[in-house]
Symmetry: C2
Subunit: 169 residues, 2 copies
DNA sequence: TCCCATCAATTGACCTCCTCAATCGTTGCT
DNA sequence: AGCAACGATTGAGGAGGTCAATTGATGGGA
């Protein structure tokens, strides 16, 4: 029996986004935000972790002991969602949950030595991924982009407001 | 019986994002993309439609008759997903599906007069919403931001590649 | 002419992500 | 001691997105 090769989609039909959408900064923002997330998830694939996990490790890596509530509030995560994420991190031995002796309702969460190693590994991965994502832009352009995004973030992501604008690298 | 007022969260605990995250353009991109989507959905609320519907109407508003496949490919939507969206638009009488007489597998989708009116109404809403989102930036800065995002989109959202860079307004 | 691979549209299963209310043990105020 | 609030956990539910299977239609090859 003969198997005919699959047809190829008509290459003449050029599917391009309407100019009206491409002209909209917020449309590009939405698409690029999604693309950035996709790329990050792909980059993290080998670790079996998500960007969420990375963000949690970063918060814990800042030193001061954190409760689950403070982690969730810092990152803007739902507390219920955080439970599952911490479960996964704890299962891999990257973080440690222990009761706060001064308030037994709380769990103090800390990085384990393995967690610290994983954090620096994820930092490298994230750095490479970001480098690739921003590849089309020069250093100066990246700085400009970041400054503009930061200005928007101060309005739309108030958690950023307290942070210091990035010092030029 | 006495009802004590609910406790207020400790206002001294300032939850700010780690500098490391705020310094990352792709992190801000992800957060702002989400915020832009949230704001747009809120702005569209009165219409009962989603940004998805708006994008579809825009494509149909360009004039040339479209099949469901071409709409999906243009916008990067899943064809199965598109079915439901078109169902909703058709239910409201904003679009019309009819079989292509030359190829009865296809549905040709067109805007109805009501659809055209709704489209221009949504354009106004989107314009106001975008205006508010970009409020912290000057006209010149918005232009710069858009140009930088467009450069990134050419790499990460190939559908943008064929479009013309925005002419300065 | 008949067969069959391909196609467009549709349907439905499934997974992820996020939000929200309910629960459990703990704490501090009165 | 009693009770309301708190931190963590659980589970339900909705929204979004991906993917495979189905249905009806087309067209090329034997």
């Amino acid at each position: 029996m003969t198997v005919t090769p699959p047809r190829i989609d008509n290459p003449l039909r050029v599917t391009r986004l309407p100019q009206e959408l491409v002209d909209s900064p917020t449309f590009l923002l939405k698409r690029l935000g999604y693309a950035a997330k996709e790329q990050a998830m792909g980059a993290y694939e080998e670790t079996g972790l998500h960007p969420y996990h990375h963000a949690i490790l970063i918060v814990l890596g800042e030193g001061s002991p954190e409760t689950q509530g403070s982690i969730a509030d810092t990152l803007g995560y739902d507390r219920g969602q955080l439970v599952g994420l911490l479960d996964e991190l704890e299962e891999r031995g990257l973080v440690e949950r222990r009761r706060d002796p001064h308030d037994r309702r709380r769990h103090l969460v800390r990085l384990t030595p393995d967690g610290k190693r994983t954090l620096s590994r994820m930092r490298m991965i994230a750095r490479r991924s970001e480098e690739e994502f921003l590849d089309p832009l020069s250093e100066k352009e990246r700085s400009t982009l970041h400054a503009l995004l930061f200005r928007l973030a101060k309005k739309h992501e108030p958690r950023c407001a307290n942070a210091v604008p990035r010092t030029s690298k």
